[in-house]
Point group: C2
Chain length 213, copies 2
Amino acid sequence: MQLYSFFNSSTSYRVRIALGLKGVAFDTLPVNIRVGEHRDETYVATVNPSAVVPAIVDGQFSLGQSLAIIDYLDAAYPEPRLIPQDTEARARVLELSSLISCDIHPVNNLRILKYLQEVLKVSPEQKDAWYQHWIAQGMAGVERLLSRHSHGQWCFGDAPTLADVCLIPQIANAQRMRCDLSRYTRAMAIYAHAIEHPAFAQAAPAMQPDYSA
Amino acid sequence: MQLYSFFNSSTSYRVRIALGLKGVAFDTLPVNIRVGEHRDETYVATVNPSAVVPAIVDGQFSLGQSLAIIDYLDAAYPEPRLIPQDTEARARVLELSSLISCDIHPVNNLRILKYLQEVLKVSPEQKDAWYQHWIAQGMAGVERLLSRHSHGQWCFGDAPTLADVCLIPQIANAQRMRCDLSRYTRAMAIYAHAIEHPAFAQAAPAMQPDYSA
């Protein structure tokens, strides 16, 4: 298994956690999105036509998009399962995962912040306010969902699921951007628990071969 | 089945298509996100803690997030299946669906455009350029994925899947915002085919009870 990854990409971070939880050995192939390596012609032509990270190559099969990758891993390497099979339990996990991966993460990722700064010429203060606004709005929804449905030490029960795999990189990102997260008590309790888990710890940006401060 | 929906929301549009394809009868309960009805206290407390549209209530079970809803519908109302069960076919459908729902749609939705205009005070031209930039970048990825993997009259084969359910509202949105889509020939051929299908036609914004020009 090969993983095309950027240390600071939270979608790459998700896949690293999933591979770690499943104990799947993989080689990390760094793609430096800060200098546009994800748009490299060979990468786009042979690995990932979407021209983003992450992507996996598993034997002859290559695949992009973190949520699609993790769904694939759940079929190809089913233990431990990260997306429950029970209809309603599964729906809760996918609902929280979608809230994070569709409503929070995309509006604050690197390409958006670059466009704000380079094209729209926003100030550093406006950029930070943008970031914090969407974190505050999104995390309020996360916390309400968790307050209603969460149980156990993880988002949903006594084992990590895709919801935790999405939540922990999102919180790590928000902390890096100095967002005040103290009011999201349930989410932060799950975060504190999760980062002690070896699969989560080893997937962190600072543990990656391409890490730079 | 009750669907909380806004006529012009493309995530609501996805769920309307899915319900139509499956022949599930539903009542549309309009939520006018232009005037903030999605933040209504009762809606958030009793229907959708994420405070967005769409949401469904199916008997005692309420659920938000379009992709989670469609995955739920595939379990609860399995015919016709919109997310294949075969591992690799499923991965392709989820990859394209994620590209649209995570990388394209979120950065151009109403709340983002409002923030650009109301907080960052961008000009109408800058707002349009923003919209068209992300459509061009995202649709180029969609077209490359389709060129590599698409077959049949739909995105993947001879029946619609979640990929088509995500693609058609995204293209409809981009057309409404006057994006030039002519270069995405495979995507546009699928679009032309899909909008003739009754489930797609009946799910269109102009067919909804809360439609306004």
